[in-house]
């Protein structure tokens, strides 16, 4: 098939746009699509653009090349204005092979541009993707097609650098990056700087990647592909950086030790997608201790041991990890020790879809322990909030002497956005009180009158040796007690201690949209961007729809009932079969409706809007 670049229909009018742009890259797991995406982000951030990314990859590390199940994708939405989601559908898809086209074509907007590597559309590639005929022959329906022999052009571009064929083919991602940087008027310099640093030890690879980058860029220029550069964003005076939820969370954990003066002891066992957090923290090193335990149970138990020793124990994992930690969480509830357990939720049950997102662990987090074992549950809404939520979690854990669960998810963990770096001097003081009680009347379950937290005296303190454990304690001596009335009292005390946390936290507030009216949309966690955008859109269209987004799932913040009473209908939108909805219904007796999707994918704004529309019309 001929190079179709000279076909005028593929040209896009040159313009500076205020509209957000969505680009999606898709290729084999080994094609470097995620790296390509990350480098595009580097350039967008350098231009002070706002963006939100969505790496969408399989669990297989290197599935057989060219197959549909090995396709890894990266989507980015960027704009001069605020960007809250990676976008429902792509304006441009770059497909590295037929399988990438097959699996990702549905992600392209009607009328969107699809760029494919013609070099891979041979008999073998088509067959592996399961195509009987070349899909380009019939055209791509409503989409525009741009077929370029990227493979060949990359090989030509890097021929002089002396790299082997395998390495040369690997440079395709930089060729594509060059092309895309041209298409959106973005600077190559940050990428070149990165290449200089990253490949300093392999000069031939360095040269090949740069040659490919420049060749892709030059191709766009020579072919006069239209440039659609985003309008200049408002200048940001504060320092900012690109951050993923994982990185933000790692920084938050590092900040806990700094702000509390306590050692942070991070224990985990590798599991997708939470492992990235262990890597990030191990890299930070100083101020944090990481411990790769032999299993999930050992991870949380070592964290509990560290907390018992006066550190802040933190243990993270995903889905099955939290299931394995439930017994130890019960111990932390009974022993009343501060502890933070992070669950980067993924699609379940069982192994489910390890790299895909879901919010179906909420009820496990809130109730999933034997006995009456209440504990606070928090959830960040954006990648950047993964930083703040860790400080909140630490504050609550220390103040109330309780384990806290933080629910992130695969989508938040991997998504990147522009993050205004907080001023370290202005972050809260998390230092615990170390005032010793009167030695003569001491027992380990003496409580603060206000918070009901027990005192936290750490081993090594002279004069206060004591024993704690999972057996029920007498409320007034800390000794083992099987007294029925005492148990009843202790159960009530532990519940009250957790309930009081919401008294110290700000009440619920409408996030966006109407303060009263027809429909209140309640959400939590990573669905924030999609829900807010959908409600904003409906609001602009004149509907009285409000959005309430919860960061504290347990105990629920004050004021939800009041807000809900100002709306005719309440709908709870979440990526599960109605976990928060059940909580809202049972706590407030509100007939909340459900907006659920459990596909492993984040909400699409359009789908949310459509469902709210339906409710409005009912």
């Amino acid at each position: 098939m001929l190079d179709k670049t000279k076909n005028d229909t593929t040209k896009i009018e040159a313009k500076r746009t205020q509209e957000p742009i969505v680009v999606r890259f898709a290729g084999d797991s080994g094609d470097g699509v995620q790296l390509l995406g990350a480098q595009f982000v580097r350039s967008a951030a350098d231009s002070e653009l706002n963006f939100f990314t969505f790496p969408d990859y399989p669990a297989e590390i290197r599935a057989p090349a060219g197959t549909t199940f090995g396709i890894s994708a990266f989507q980015i939405q960027f704009n001069s204005d605020t960007v809250l989601t990676p976008g429902d559908a792509a304006d441009v898809l770059i497909a590295f092979n037929p399988a990438a086209l097959k699996t990702n074509l549905t992600e392209v907007k009607t009328g969107g541009l699809v760029v494919v590597d013609e070099g891979t559309f041979n008999k073998r590639g088509l067959k592996k993707a399961g195509y009987d005929a070349d899909p380009r022959d019939a055209g791509l329906g409503e989409h525009q097609l741009l077929s370029i022999d990227i493979s060949k052009r990359t090989l030509e571009a890097v021929a002089e650098t002396g790299v082997g064929r395998k390495q040369a083919v690997m440079a395709r991602n930089f060729w594509v990056l060059g092309l895309v940087l041209w298409m959106y008027g973005q600077n190559r310099k940050p990428v070149n700087n990165w290449i200089d640093k990253k490949f300093a030890k392999t000069p031939d690879v360095l040269a090949a990647n740069k040659a490919a980058l420049n060749a892709g860029h030059a191709y766009g220029e020579t072919m006069e592909l239209a440039v659609q550069s985003p309008a200049s964003p408002l200048h940001v005076s504060e320092p900012y950086r690109v951050i993923t939820g994982t990185d933000a969370m790692a920084l938050g954990i590092a900040a806990i030790s700094s702000l509390s003066g306590l050692e942070t002891f991070y224990c985990s066992y590798p599991i997708t997608p939470a492992s990235a957090l262990l890597h990030a923290l191990a890299k930070i090193g100083s101020g944090i201790r990481t411990f790769q335990a032999e299993d999930e149970i050992a991870a949380v138990c070592a964290a509990i041991g560290a907390s018992y020793g006066g550190a802040i124990g933190v243990s993270a994992g995903s889905g099955p990890s939290l299931a394995l930690k439930t017994e130890a969480l019960g111990l932390a509830v009974a022993a009343e020790l501060p502890l933070i357990v992070i669950n980067v939720q993924r699609a379940g049950p069982s192994t489910g879809m390890p790299t895909k997102t879901e919010q179906a662990d909420l009820l496990m987090a809130v109730f999933g322990r034997h006995g009456e074992a209440p504990l606070p549950v928090l959830a960040p809404a954006t990648p950047g909030e993964c930083f703040d939520i860790m400080l909140d979690a630490a504050k609550i854990a220390i103040e109330a002497m309780t384990p806290v669960i933080v629910l992130s998810d695969a989508y938040l963990a991997n998504a990147a956005e522009k993050w205004i770096v907080p001023d370290a001097e202005k972050l809260p003081d998390l230092r615990p009180s170390r005032d010793l009680p009167d030695e003569s009347n001491y027992h380990p379950y003496l409580r603060d009158d206000v918070t009901l937290a027990r005192n936290w005296i750490i081993p090594g303190t002279p004069g206060f040796v004591h024993r704690i454990g999972g057996l029920e304690k007498a409320h007034d001596s800390g000794d083992i007690s099987y007294d029925p009335n005492n148990h009843d009292k202790m159960v009530a005390l532990r519940a009250e201690k957790i309930a009081r946390i919401s008294e110290r936290c700000p009440p619920a507030e409408i996030e966006t949209g109407a303060e009263e009216g027809d429909v209140l949309v309640i959400g939590w966690g990573s669905t924030y961007g999609a829900l807010k955008t959908a409600v904003d859109n409906l609001d602009e269209a004149g509907h009285a729809v409000g959005h309430l987004h919860l960061r504290r799932l347990w105990p629920l913040p004050r004021g939800i009932e009041k807000i809900a009473s100002r709306f005719k209908k309440v709908i709870v939108a979440e990526l599960n079969h109605g976990h928060l909805r059940r909580l809202i219904r049972s706590e407030y007796l509100i007939p909340a409706e459900a907006l659920n999707r459990v596909s492993g994918q984040p909400f699409k704004i359009a789908d949310v809007e459509a469902e709210i529309h339906q409710l409005l019309n009912r």
Binding site: S286, G313, A335, H466
Partner: protein
């Protein structure tokens, strides 16, 4: 360190001990209190962490810091405690269920990591607190409520498992051997790194006399070799028996000195030899004695000592935190 003389009483709490009368745990508790007093570290610098089971009630009876955790996980909790508070003397107490069944994974990993903990396995070869089911150290054919026709499982050799896990200190003793156990406990405490002590403990209710006559004053000497570094492996009431290496079976065998071998042929204990330790740990066959004592002691760097320096630093100050947060932030 021993500035103020301490006695066993200084390590005794006001809690009433709730083990069955005649339980071997009483003898172990007595030995531990004595050893703690002899070592002389003030009670607040000592912590006992336990799992679940009869043995795991131990911390309640010692006036040190104590944490009674969940079944099998004591070694994991203690690992976190010791890494957070390296200056504490941390002991882990558990039974054969705790250490070898539900918590077996933690046992092997705490040993290979060589975290500086003193691990005391109270091996009574039965599940006591759950009323007498067979345990991972019960002999094949043990009749119990869960194995009325006799158990089919082969027992774990705890010392051998510990050695195989990479433990650098492995010892054996028994509950009522008050002329032996305290010294072993002192050696274990003094050892830097994970020290593993298997204590044969009698469960008078569910598995009485499971370890036969090894603690018996008269019969014991005939069935027990007390291994001591550099000394010949001799036993018997009149010290008339010894161990020689049998090249035909490639393992040790008991002999009568004079009749079957000369005194010079008796093997000497070398606690730095892993090969010897394993051979002594797994020795069986007709007339084979039980080897007690320090089977293996070969210190090497502890987990903490192996950590890179920056993993041991104090929390970052605000200015260091600021640098960390900014990272490669663009600022204009």
């Amino acid at each position: 360190m021993n500035e103020i003389a301490l006695s066993a009483k200084d390590f005794t709490t006001d809690q009433e001990v709730r083990w069955c009368p005649g339980c071997g745990d009483y003898a172990i508790l007595k030995a531990v209190r004595k050893v703690l007093a002899d070592i002389g570290r003030p009670p607040h610098e000592v912590a006992f962490v336990s799992g679940i089971g009869c043995a795991a009630r131990f911390p309640y009876y010692l006036s040190t810091y104590g944490f009674h955790t969940i079944h099998g996980r004591a070694a994991a909790v203690a690992s976190g405690l010791k890494l957070a508070r390296p200056e504490l003397d941390v002991w882990v107490v558990g039974g054969d269920g705790d250490f070898l069944s539900i918590g077996g994974n933690h046992t092997i990993h705490v040993l290979r990591r060589n975290i500086d903990l003193n691990l005391l396995l109270f091996n009574n070869a039965i599940y006591g607190l759950t009323k007498g089911q067979y345990s991972p150290t019960s002999a094949i054919g043990t009749r119990s409520p869960s194995s009325p026709e006799g158990s089919a499982d082969s027992p774990i050799n705890a010392a051998s498992l510990a050695l195989g896990s990479g433990a650098r200190f492995v010892a054996r003793s028994a509950d009522t051997l008050q002329d032996h156990l305290p010294e072993i406990l002192k050696r274990a405490q003094a050892h830097k790194g994970a020290s593993f002590v298997e204590i044969f403990q009698n469960c008078i209710v569910y598995n009485d006399n499971a370890f036969g006559p090894i603690t018996d004053k008269t019969a014991g000497p005939d069935v027990v070799v007390r291994a001591e570094h550099g000394e010949p492996l001799i036993f018997g009431k009149d010290r008339e028996k010894g161990l020689v290496f049998d090249p035909e079976r490639n393992q040790f065998k008991p002999v009568v000195i004079g009749d079957e071998a000369t005194r010079d042929q008796i093997a000497h204990h070398d606690e730095t030899s892993l090969t010897l330790a394993q051979a002594l740990a797994v020795m069986d066959g007709p007339g084979a004695p039980m080897v007690l004592g320090v089977l293996y002691c070969a210190p090497e760097a502890t987990y903490r000592e192996r950590l890179p320096e920056n993993y041991r630093t104090k929390p970052l100050d605000r200015s260091a935190l600021s640098d960390l947060l900014l990272g490669a932030a663009a600022s204009r």
